[in-house]
Symmetry: C2
Subunit: 369 residues, 2 copies
């Protein structure tokens, strides 16, 4: 699962990052590797590794996407992405399209090896400016070093050198179906991709927008010019289910197809889209000592993306008592009872459901294939 409350991100100002008319540089795949020894540049050479690319503020017709990465194992115990990426590192044919080949990358190999979410801290919270620019040694927190490596390989974030697109593959223990994750509906390219995926798959693919105003983005995906998180569940962490992996594979294939169509000169019309925006996280009831006093109510369990109405139960205490939702309007919970959120005491996220009008996506400017 993605980290909590990730937000900010290049593009919050309304730009379509993909659409920035920045010349693509350093497009050699060799530069950003495929899970082998990373080519690290000193932070000084990283350019703007900060909170977002304000230079991307003018929406414009985009260019072809040549450099696409598929990340697995950002959390080392979310096994669908881990094993799909390991497979693609051996046989990347599934990632080839007419106009590009995506590069698989194992984001957190140490955590993957130990089958844990992270070693020292959540990698998917380690892409803040402070972490990316910190100068340390190998004894530093592993994920800080790894975030810097990834930022050099696939970014630097907010720069012209950043890769065109990152898919980040996650699993959740929550009943989230095939959730598509972006920071904002203002990422027009990603929204069109979501729309394309929704139209071309059989199962529900709710769109979750995690951006909150005024917060810096600390996610791995923020390194790229544009990105999409695929969050599939329920699947226990440390387990690999065939159905979930097949689903993830199909969604990713659909996303790659979309990029390929775009690269080949397809334009996509405007549309209206339902999506779910983060409001805040809701914590478990706890004792003053921090002990859980209750659990997610059975009536709420597994009801991700369904309306929770005022007066409906949200927690069941061990004592038998119930706690009810006291808001004034329905909200839409997600990441209900996600294992990785227990350490933060979070029981679920409150989302609001909205309809957004997404402008058309024009075909990219002609360029050499």
């Amino acid at each position: 699962m993605l980290s909590l409350l990730m937000e900010g991100s290049c593009g919050k100002d309304g730009s379509t990052l993909h659409g920035c008319s920045i010349p693509l540089k350093n497009q050699s795949l060799g530069r950003w590797g495929s899970g082998g020894a990373p080519l690290i540049r000193a932070p000084e050479a990283a350019g703007t590794a900060g909170t977002g690319s304000r230079m991307c503020s003018t929406p414009s017709m985009g260019h072809r996407l040549n450099r696409v990465a598929v990340m697995g194992g950002t959390h080392g115990n979310e096994l669908s992405g881990v094993y799909l990426v390991k497979h693609w590192l051996q046989d990347p044919s599934e990632l080839q399209r007419r106009t590009f080949t995506a590069t698989p990358f194992l984001a957190n190999p140490k955590a993957t090896k130990r089958c844990v979410r992270y070693i020292s801290q959540d990698l998917n919270r380690s892409f803040t400016k402070a972490f990316l620019l910190s100068k340390g040694t190998k004894d530093d927190l592993y994920e800080v070093s790894r975030a810097q490596e990834i930022n050099q390989l696939f970014g630097p974030r907010g720069s012209a050198d950043a890769v065109d697109f990152i898919f980040d593959l996650h699993n959740t223990t929550s009943n989230m179906a095939a959730c598509l994750i972006s920071d904002s509906e203002k990422n027009v390219f990603t929204m069109h991709m979501c729309h394309y995926i929704q139209k071309h798959t059989q199962t529900p693919c709710p769109i979750y927008l995690y951006g909150l105003p005024g917060q810096e983005n600390y996610s791995l995906m923020s390194v790229a010019k544009n990105s999409l998180g695929l969050e599939l569940g329920p699947q226990p962490h440390g387990v690999l289910r065939a159905d979930v992996s097949a689903h993830m594979r199909a969604l990713l294939a659909c996303g790659l197809d979309f990029i390929d169509l775009f690269n080949q000169g397809t334009s996509f019309p405007a549309f209206d889209m339902v999506a779910y925006k983060l409001i805040e996280s809701v914590h478990f009831p706890r004792s003053p000592e921090g002990e859980l006093l209750g659990i997610v109510h059975p009536q709420l369990q597994d009801k991700d993306f369904l309306p929770l109405k005022p007066g409906e139960p949200i927690f069941q205490l061990f004592s038998g008592e119930e706690i009810f939702y006291e808001g004034d309007v329905p909200i839409y919970p997600a990441f209900i009872n996600e294992a990785a959120y227990y350490e933060k005491g979070v029981a679920f996220l409150k989302l609001e459901k909205s309809t957004f009008s997404i402008p058309p996506l024009e075909a990219p400017a002609a360029s050499a294939p």
Copy 2:
């Protein structure tokens, strides 16, 4: 989930351990505590801490069960038992019956605190004679010390001082429903309890018998004169589902009721019982380097305790190939795709389904309440 391939155990010779006519000693609950600082006796004073109580070899009418323990957190990330035991340590009223009160106990508090299965090694494999008699320091493996503490508090294993009954509460990521676990159908008292639970609950409660000939029992449950494991799933490790906890609570209540009825002088007639016996574990296909080459086939996933027939698929390789079950007769898989078994490379356990004739359980000898 219980450890793999646990077997052996006091009682394998056909005795009903509960039925041993050993005078009950040291019945003060204070002696074996309730999760607080344990009262440790030196190993030298432990008596027979070995592989089983051969002195229990003569089936005889049993005595009342006065000392009953309920273990949670034997694996620290199996949260139903962890949080039920924590609740009962605050309010044990649910564990009271007319003839006894069961004692809740958090078996592996360090692993529980970190929400991991174990710290150094699986506690539920640490009750071998070698571990129980090893003389070490506090720097030894945590679970070895803890097994010795538990053996002193609730055993010593195979001795007259051992508690009458242990319930051990587990979760699995597999679709095991409410599995009842014992080492052998020869544990007549436990088989009657299973039968009682099956008759008094609405959902399937398959009985899994884990004993294999000639192997020493290394499970926590083996400390008691008799025992039952409750293995509920599917539930991701590190997650607490209300439905699973409620189910576990109901099964345990039923088991406690059974002991209470027995203690009050109830006898139980003979019956025939279907149960599933362990044959062996089946490993994932792996590369010479140990990497997974495939996953549990979607047609097998979630089919715990259902027949797997010759020629049916068991694995799906990442390459797309399928691997089929090549046995001659149907087997009954269980613990299919259990998270905790990945570290051992085990994909599922092969069980055989059998019908056993269980002799009557006579009412206990009269004794002071």
